[in-house]
């Protein structure tokens, strides 16, 4: 799959109309043909660039070329703890999507600590929530369904100690599932399996029960495989210069 195939796929995922994708990809291919540049060097990883093109980017002038990029997945039981842990290592939350998880950046020249908080807010009340937290320096980083994640430079609360003198390597892991999450999945799977088996026993329709179980297995694969593929495509990105 070429860079532009991948970019087109990401733009489709973000709901960009097909004709717009075609013209965008053509235009960008013309840019590369004329400049002779490498597309990843010039535009950055396809997923992040698709976010910027689709209007999901938060910065006013695109990603900083002096920033490292790193992605990770965490579940709703521990993601705030993880965000704060990595925020202490200089990682600033930039965006979220279901395949790549949390995308973070870290300034190379002047890394600083970040802190995070999560609010669970109905979509129509997002604006009010952002306005309520803004006076304390909280800036909206990600809004996804009912979850809103806010970030704040730690210098706002601890002063100069918010600056980082040295930065550890980007974590080698990408998935940070909590024990609660495994328990949740196990209980959910057990309840689902129990319900299907009970229904099969009562109705005597084993074929239909097998169909349910196969469907659940396919759904699981459909969730995990795109995450794994996105992970392979999105290695931690060193700064662009």
């Amino acid at each position: 799959m070429t860079y532009f195939d991948e970019l087109a796929a990401h733009l489709r995922d973000r709901g960009v109309p097909a004709d717009e994708i075609a013209s965008t990809v053509d235009d960008l291919a013309a840019y590369i043909a004329e400049s002779g540049a490498d597309p990843v060097e010039e535009f950055g990883p396809a997923a992040g660039f698709a976010d910027e093109l689709a209007g999901d980017g938060r910065t006013s002038a695109g990603p900083s070329p002096d920033a490292e990029i790193w992605h990770f997945h965490a579940d709703a039981f521990n993601e705030v703890r993880r965000l704060n842990e990595f925020g202490d290592q200089g990682w600033e939350l930039d965006r979220y999507d279901t395949k790549l998880g949390f995308t973070c950046r870290r300034d190379v020249e002047r890394p600083q600590r970040w802190e995070y908080r999560r609010e669970i807010v109905p979509t129509l009340r997002r604006k009010a929530a952002a306005e309520r937290l803004a006076p304390d320096g909280w800036e909206l980083a990600v809004a996804w369904t009912v979850w809103m994640y806010f970030k704040r430079p730690k210098s706002a609360s601890v002063g100069p100690a918010g600056e980082l003198d040295t930065t550890p390597e980007a974590p080698a892991r990408y998935f940070f599932w909590s024990r609660s999450f495994y328990v949740f999945v196990a209980v959910y799977a057990a309840l689902f399996t129990g319900a299907v088996l009970a229904w099969a026993a009562l109705s005597g329709d084993i074929g239909m029960a097998m169909g349910f179980m196969t469907g659940a297995l396919i759904a699981g694969i459909a969730i995990v495989v795109p995450m794994a593929r996105a992970r392979r495509r999105a290695r931690p990105r060193p700064p662009r210069h």
Binding site: D27, A30, Y31, A33, G55, A61, S64, P65
Partner: protein
């Protein structure tokens, strides 16, 4: 440090610079990037330029038209709209006033 500071300055004014490059007529992404580089602003990566062009288009400050090429992939041409021209005039005035204030402070500080 110097590069970091220049990047910060550019970040705040890039949309204005892109609008300014279009005052002499329509142009496409790579040529806009080249034009900015030729002005001494350094190379602006496509990953930085295109999101700015998209935002300017969404704001109605530029209009884009895709044209199929006889050879090779087509290109999207951008032109300044009336609203874009008005915004450029207004924002340029604000930038010049800001620039004047900075110069004034530096002059008072005895910086040549």
């Amino acid at each position: 440090m110097v590069a970091d500071r220049r990047a910060s300055w550019l970040k705040g004014v890039l949309d204005l610079l892109v609008l300014a490059t279009l005052t002499e007529g329509e142009n496409y992404g790579y040529e806009i990037s080249k034009s900015l580089a030729a002005s001494g602003l350094g190379q602006i990566k496509g990953g930085t330029l295109y999101p700015v062009l998209n935002r300017l288009e969404e704001a109605g400050l530029v209009a884009a038209e895709f044209r199929v090429a006889d050879r090779g992939p087509g290109r999207r041409y951008y032109r300044l709209t009336e609203q874009g021209r008005d915004t450029l005039t207004e924002q340029s005035r604000l930038w010049r006033a800001f620039d004047e204030s900075v110069r004034s402070v530096l002059d008072r500080g005895g910086v040549a």
